[in-house]
Structures are given as structure tokens and as C-alpha cells.
């Protein structure tokens, strides 16, 4: 790959991406706008896992839970405040705080990675049970009814700060969700190029060496975990806006498995991969959902299995390898293993 300075590279991506996102709603139908808006929310969730798993090497089963917490926190706050601006902040901060507490116990106890996976999964399922039994009126947060398995309907949409009467319609929501996903992508690219990113990748590559060099890996794992939770929460805020509704299925086993599948299909250790995985699978499941002949989970499971067997590295790393292998071998070091290169091209 040509050595374009990162700032220029990201600047170009930001400009081109923003232009496409802003222009697109005029060219596509209403249904497509809604579908892609949902994809953007899912892409943010996928990015959060792509970062924490693919770069920090922490396999978190709980990203969907942080996403759900973000959605619920936004819903409850927006209903109470009648203004979305502080609600967005709460939708990001609550999951981050939750991750801080959970991560503290998990990482400072030096639990092995398999326990981290199991504990994040268990916490997710506990949240599912808990949210499911909140139908009683005693589970009111101010004016917001949590509503048990029926969820929270009529969540107020995003509005211009201080002007609840000026709120986002589907087209604006498309642009906001798209720009947010783009900003998260660029933010993560910058983060990975910075000190913290190098440390986090070093930890993934050789945790013992990092400790022997003097890095407190517990601390850096916690930081990565909290950042990823905040990002997932932001995705949840977009999701709660998407159809003004959220229910406990975001804490369910099936939903929690989805980001993992997106990341694996798109490519672990990349950022574009998870976005792509989210777009492909989320679109596919919607398309399949409109027909009633075959169970959609059966097909998705089949797609996933075939994928893992045929393209085990995921789409993006496979494409990159194909690309570098085709170029004349000027540099013998290029090519092999490009996917796990710790340099932070996303």
C-alpha cells in the first residue's frame, strides 16, 4: 500500500464518506433509507467489537448488552427530559460506566480470556431476564416505563439541541447515523495510530512482554473495554432512534451473537471488515425476513458456516492478501500475514 500520511488518508475518507452519506437519501427509496440507517447503527456496534476483540484481543460477548444499555438509557432519558441532547450523553456514559465496574472486577482479578467471554455473556443474559420482568409499574424511571418484554415504545427522536420541536425525520436520521458511524471509524483509526492503540495491539500480541516492559495491562484492557462499551452504547442510541422502540431482545443470546458473526465474516483485526459484515448480514436478514418459507436463522447459520469454512480470515483480510500477493514481489516481507499486521490500517 502506498504510504499516504494517515491524516491525509483519513481526511479524504471523511470528506468522501460524508459527501456520500449526505447525498445518498435523495437517490434511494424510503425503505432503503430505513434499512441503511439500521445498518449504520449495527456498524457502530460492529466497530466496537472489532476494536476490543480484533485489536485489544479481548473477546467480549457483551457488546450487544452495552448497545442495549445505551438504547435503554437513551429511551428513558429522552422520555424524561423531552430533549435528546443529554439523553445521547447518558446513552453513551451509562454503558461506559457499567463496563468500568464490570471490567474492573474482570481485568484486575486477572481472569483469563475465556472467563471474560463467559462473564460478559452471563451478564448479558442476566440483563435480558432483568429487563424482561420490568413490566410492573414499579419499574418506572421517572416518566419512562421499562415495559418488560413489551419494551419501550414511542422513544422521542433526536432533536436540535434545546429545540425538541425540531426533530430528525428518517432522512436526517440516516445522515446522523451515517456520520456517526463514519466518525467512530475515523476516531478508532486515529486512536489505533496513537500511543494507546500501539499499547493495546502490543497487549494482543504479547501480554507478558508488555508487562515486563512496564505496562500495566490490566489498566489498558480496562480502558479499551470502556471505550468499546461507550461506542456500542452510541450505536444503541442510534438503534433506539431508528424505530423509536427498544425491547429486551437486544440482550438475547441471538442478538448478542450477531456482532461476533459480523466481525468474523468481515475480518478480525480490521475496522472496515466489521462494518462490511454488519451491512451484509443485516441487509440479508431483512431481505430474508420478508419471505416466510424458510426460517431465517437457518439460512443465516448456513451462510455463517459456509463463510467460516471458505473464507476463515474474513472478507477484508482475504482481499488484502489477494491484493498484496498479486503485486510483483518487490518487497519479500510484504504479503503473508498481512491481515494480522499490527500496523493499524483499518
Amino acid at each position: 500500500m502506498a504510504r499516504v500520511p494517515l491524516a491525509i488518508q483519513l481526511g479524504a475518507i471523511a470528506l468522501a464518506g460524508a459527501a456520500v452519506i449526505v447525498a445518498l437519501p435523495s437517490f434511494i427509496g424510503y425503505d432503503t433509507i430505513l434499512q441503511i440507517t439500521l445498518n449504520f447503527a449495527f456498524a457502530i456496534l460492529a466497530l466496537s467489537l472489532g476494536f476490543v476483540w480484533g485489536y485489544a484481543g479481548i473477546f467480549s460477548f457483551g457488546q450487544a448488552a452495552f448497545f442495549g444499555l445505551g438504547g435503554y438509557a437513551y429511551a428513558a432519558a429522552a422520555i424524561n427530559f423531552g430533549d435528546s441532547t443529554p439523553a445521547i450523553l447518558i446513552g453513551v456514559l451509562l454503558p461506559a460506566l457499567f463496563a468500568l465496574v464490570l471490567g474492573y472486577f474482570v481485568f484486575y482479578a486477572r481472569l483469563s480470556s475465556i472467563y471474560v467471554a463467559v462473564i460478559t455473556l452471563v451478564v448479558t443474559l442476566i440483563l435480558y431476564k432483568f429487563m424482561g420482568q420490568t413490566a410492573k409499574p414499579s419499574y418506572m424511571i421517572g416518566n419512562a416505563m421499562l415495559g418488560g418484554y413489551n419494551g419501550i415504545p414511542a422513544i422521542p427522536p433526536l432533536n436540535v439541541p434545546g429545540r425538541p420541536d425540531l426533530f430528525a425525520g428518517p432522512e436526517e436520521m440516516f445522515v446522523i447515523a451515517g456520520l456517526t458511524a463514519l466518525a467512530v471509524y475515523i476516531g478508532l483509526r486515529v486512536l489505533l495510530a496513537a500511543r494507546l492503540g500501539k499499547i493495546v495491539v502490543g497487549m494482543r500480541e504479547n501480554e507478558l512482554r508488555m508487562e515486563l516492559l512496564g505496562f500495566d495491562t490490566r489498566f489498558y484492557k480496562l480502558v479499551a473495554f470502556v471505550i468499546a462499551a461507550a461506542i456500542a452504547g452510541l450505536g444503541g442510541v442510534m438503534f433506539a432512534n431508528w424505530n423509536a422502540f427498544i425491547d429486551p431482545h437486544v440482550f438475547g443470546l441471538g442478538f448478542s451473537a450477531q456482532p461476533i458473526i459480523w466481525v468474523m465474516i468481515g475480518g478480525l483485526g480490521t475496522l472496515i471488515g466489521p462494518i462490511l459484515g454488519a451491512f451484509i448480514l443485516s441487509t440479508l436478514s431483512l431481505e430474508l425476513g420478508t419471505q416466510k418459507t424458510i426460517d431465517i436463522n437457518l439460512i443465516l447459520g448456513l451462510v455463517f458456516t459456509v463463510f467460516v469454512l471458505l473464507v476463515p480470515q474474513g472478507i477484508i483480510p482475504t482481499l488484502r492478501k489477494f491484493w498484496t500477493d498479486r503485486r510483483p514481489a518487490r518487497d519479500p516481507d510484504a504479503g503473508a500475514n498481512a491481515s494480522r499486521e499490527a500496523s493499524s490500517h483499518g
Binding site: K198, R209, L212, L213, D216, D333, A342
Partner: protein
Amino acid sequence: MAERGAPLLETRGVGMRFGGVKAVEDVDFRLEEGELRCLIGPNGAGKSTFFRCLTKQYQPTSGTVLLRGRDVTRAPTHAIARQGVGIKTQVPNVFDGLTVRENLRLAATARHRGRAIDEACDQAIERLSLKAIGGHRLDRLSHGQRQWVELAMVVTSRPALILLDEPTAGMTHAEVEHTAALIQELNRDSALIVVEHDMQFIRSIATGVTVFHQGRIFADGTAETIMRDPRVGEIYLGKRNLLS
């Protein structure tokens, strides 16, 4: 440094047991600032385990570890590193997917910021003569080169104490000689403890020797006296003395 100050490293009664296995037992060890000491002993004598106790990869099950008089028995691994102890482990711990320079940059990031990171890298590359391979990925280097890179990573933080666990294992004769020269160069700034089996090598860096046997300190002395000690020859390979 200070004549009357506490030693750089001191252990009192340090022990490490795994269930019934006493890998290290009741070790009283002293190392002065700037000293170069070799640690020898047959396989399984507890040399690596002792290093792991010093760097808290293992929490010693008994005893006390002092660095410059400060009790660090309960300090975690990263804190030991921050107090100026660097280690090259027996099996190299490096970042295989990164280039030599990237490895060193990451290592230097632990203790430096901004420009100082590059300066520390350049210095380490210079001191260990790694310039020619700066852009190579670690998984493409020879075993000997990997050891030198690991050593260079340790050097970026200018540690007061460097622990080297079998730094010449698997090296060619020429590489061993180069490593001996490197160790003496490093000894100008740091104290070192070197685990080594090769007597020729130990003599070439002319230093004090501590012998481990079955987890305990078995003997202590100069390279010459240790090599002529028939008891040491016996535990070591069953030879009458280490020069034969």
C-alpha cells in the same frame, strides 16, 4: 553507586513451591549496583523460576525481595519493570508481527514520550548493532537476532538491572562472541544477572558466579574457583570439574 547504600537487589529466604515441588527454596541473594553475575546450575535447578520470582511472573511463596532496600515482594510485574528491572526471558518474548524498529518503539513507549521514544530506539539500535535489520519483521529473524532484539527492547528503558536467561542459547560461535561483547557493553550502565551454561562464555566475561542446585544456592565465587570446585563439577553433568 553509594558505598554504604543498600544493594541493588537483595532477596531474603525467597522460595517458590508448586504443590509439593520446591522449585526455589530459601534463597538469600545480593547484587550490588553495576555488578555482573552469572547464574549457573543444572537443568531444573530453579534459575528461571528465580527470575520469575524477581519479576513477579510468579508470586514467591515465601521470603522478601528488596530493590535498593525497598520491599517489592508484593509489587506486580509492571511495577518491577518500572523500578528499573528488565528481563530477557529464556524463550524470547517479542512481538512477532512487528518489525525490529516497531518492537523497539513499543518498548520505548513504556518509559518515554514524544521525541525521546525515537532517541531511545536509535540508541538501542546503535548499541546492539541492529541497524541492518531495523525494517525486518521479528518472525523472519534468526534465533540469535531475536534474542538481540529482545535485549535491545530491554535496553530502551535503561534499566538498573538486566536479567538475561540463557542469552546465547542456540547461537553460533560468532554470535556468542558478539553477545559476550554486548553484555560487557551493557554492563557499563546496568547491573546484570546472566543465566548461562557455557563456561567458556562465563570466563570470557570474567565475573562472579552463583551456582543453583535443586532450588537452593549451592556455591558462590569467582569464575575460576567455581570451575575448579569438584562439588560443582559433580552436580553439573557429573564431571570432576568444569574445565575437563
